[in-house]
Symmetry: C2
Subunit: 371 residues, 2 copies
């Protein structure tokens, strides 16, 4: 139903190029569809915002969203897709509460701020956690290799993409029978992956999937049975999964947009095509970094993210000037995370090639003018 | 900025009258504003859906929402307004986790399905709970009077309006020094109340405040200090309050709509005027029930809700016919909750007088045709 991304369309109606790290750019055709139907959804006489989560229409929307995600990510039949609230932060609690039983422990890989928060949340809930690998020794500039997991761990938890540091797992640890769990908030559905290697994947939607306010959880069905009864209902995979994400009122509008984004992804040609475009987009910027002595990429080349490209300029003054001039040229959101500084270009699925081309062009001009 | 509700405007562009229990009707001017700004928010070049929660613009929106709610509900200065996720269901856990300390207990009033869920959630989290009053003996058709609270209870919890049973507290229990806590999901800001009587009020937004996906929490500041450190971050009033609801990415779009709804409420003349209209609206339907021997209201007259008017017809067949014919006449959402049957007209703030007049007119015609 959506047309392909073409040159020029994001600039329609005074829109600018959005490199925000999240909430982030959405496909323009999705926004147009939302706008068109906002007062009267498909002739039903009410807005989607006013629609009961128990209506046939919404039931179709949430089922479509699950079906489309399974199709696009090639998710095996023995997995369920849940739509939860509370972002990755609630999952940081839900994962250990559901899956670390009495006397058990879990293992974590620490590749940045979000990994750390996941580890700390498990610990403060009284769970035993081992950090089996970390890249903190080099400012989280790489993804550790050769990760070993204890065979009796409840699970191994990784953060597949590190938004702040611009790193991303290129291949995933082999965990044998131990459940592999990934926070994919910032790189879900950016490339083809083998979902069957994971027991559980979760992602706040606000980067590659939709707006903030909904969290996508992909869970292997046998895990649903592990949830103990004495944990908050809204963290229980068994309860939320048992009611197909309709235990209580879900964030209906956010789920609706996720469905539209998935339709748009399918119209783009699915994950194979999207990955190809993402590699081209990221390649353009990394090539520009590698060919320059003015810009310096912060992630080790073997750990570079397809989604968040982080780099530094010769001085903080020049970085400030870069961000300001980029904005004057219609490019928003290029400032690095406040904890690390520098520049960050977040180039999620919905950021079109033309935006990246424009950025690279600007980078070259800026270098020439300021070298 | 919004115009007053006038006759006829809700029927614009094929829209129908929406009596949904929640997610529910929103003011049409709010929807129109959302639609207008959807692709390019106030000339910023991006959608509100794509905007960073750390941007100045969104910071202004969330601060405006807090300020407007404080103004409209006349909330004292020593209270904070939080925007959380997970609906009332997460609050059912958050309240006992934050406020029932080691060796303490809390008391609850049981006035229906949602009270019961709140009680059960506290119990399953291992908290001690006394039910000090209940109307279960008469199918929750009334609000118990003369509620006594133990002076050493951590708090007394009530459900101020019972969506399913059409009952509402007319006055609130006197609790002395004991914290009074209310789930006001279905009647927040429907009438003037003395907020200083409450230690904490929470409400899923999807009835009187906005779309689903955001929960409004009004909390007296001294309570923030009570949160223990070993509870999930997303349930901690101390952490969420300490970061002014920006600990992690909030449901930005839902908060934006809450702000617009509050602006609309202010433009209507504030709570005094809204309460007056709500009493007129509910009065029209209750008068029709009282004057008829065909319809039978299910709530005891002294406990009737301003928000959800529940009634029965002589037979289930007639109820089915009533709901179907009402829909043919442009009135949606009149079916009673699946657990109790019958008819329910949810007439939240955004449901205009004309919708209620049309419903009462239809009720009279239906009675005549089917008596």
């Amino acid at each position: 139903m959506f047309y392909q991304v073409e040159r020029g369309i994001t600039m329609k109606e005074g829109r600018i190029y959005n490199f925000n790290p999240g909430p982030a750019a959405l496909p323009l055709p999705v926004l147009e569809e939302v706008q068109k139907d906002l007062l009267n959804y498909k002739g039903e006489g009410i807005s989607i915002l006013e629609m009961s989560h128990r209506s046939k229409t919404f039931d179709g929307i949430i089922k479509d969203a699950e079906r489309l995600l399974k199709e696009i990510m090639d998710i095996p039949q023995n997995y369920k897709v849940l739509f939860m609230q509370g972002g990755a932060t609630l999952q940081f609690a839900a994962v250990p509460l559901n899956l670390i039983g009495e006397g058990q422990f879990a293992e974590y890989v620490n590749t940045g701020s979000w990994s750390k928060k996941a580890i700390q949340e498990a610990q403060k809930l009284g769970k035993k956690v081992n950090v089996v690998a970390s890249s903190e020794d080099e400012s989280f500039s790489y993804i550790p290799g050769d990760i070993k997991v204890s065979p009796n761990a409840a699970y191994l938890h990784i953060t597949s993409n590190n938004t702040i540091f611009g790193t991303q797992f290129q291949q995933f640890p082999e965990t044998g029978d131990v459940a592999l769990i990934a926070d994919m908030s910032s790189d879900i559905a950016c490339r083809k992956i083998d979902v069957s290697k994971f027991a559980l994947i979760y992602a706040g939607a606000q980067k590659n999937m939709g707006p903030s306010g909904v969290t996508v959880v992909i869970i292997r069905e046998d895990l649903l049975e592990k949830s103990p009864d004495n944990i908050p209902t809204m963290t229980s995979y068994k309860i939320i999964g048992g009611k197909d994400s309709l235990y209580n009122t879900p964030p209906t509008f956010a789920v609706y947009i996720v469905k539209l984004v998935l339709e748009w992804m399918k119209a783009q040609g699915g994950l194979e095509k999207i990955e190809q475009i993402n590699r081209q987009k990221a390649g353009l910027i990394y090539d520009a970094l590698d060919q320059s002595s003015f810009y310096r990429g912060t992630a080790r080349p073997d750990s570079r993210s397809l989604m968040n490209v982080t780099f530094r300029l010769p001085s903080e003054e020049l970085e400030k000037k870069f961000v300001a001039e980029a904005l004057e040229n219609g490019m928003l959101g290029l400032k690095g995370h406040r904890s690390v500084g520098g520049i960050r270009a977040s180039i999620y699925n919905a950021v079109p090639m033309e935006a990246v081309e424009k950025l690279v062009d600007f980078m070259k001009k800026f270098e020439k003018a300021n070298s």
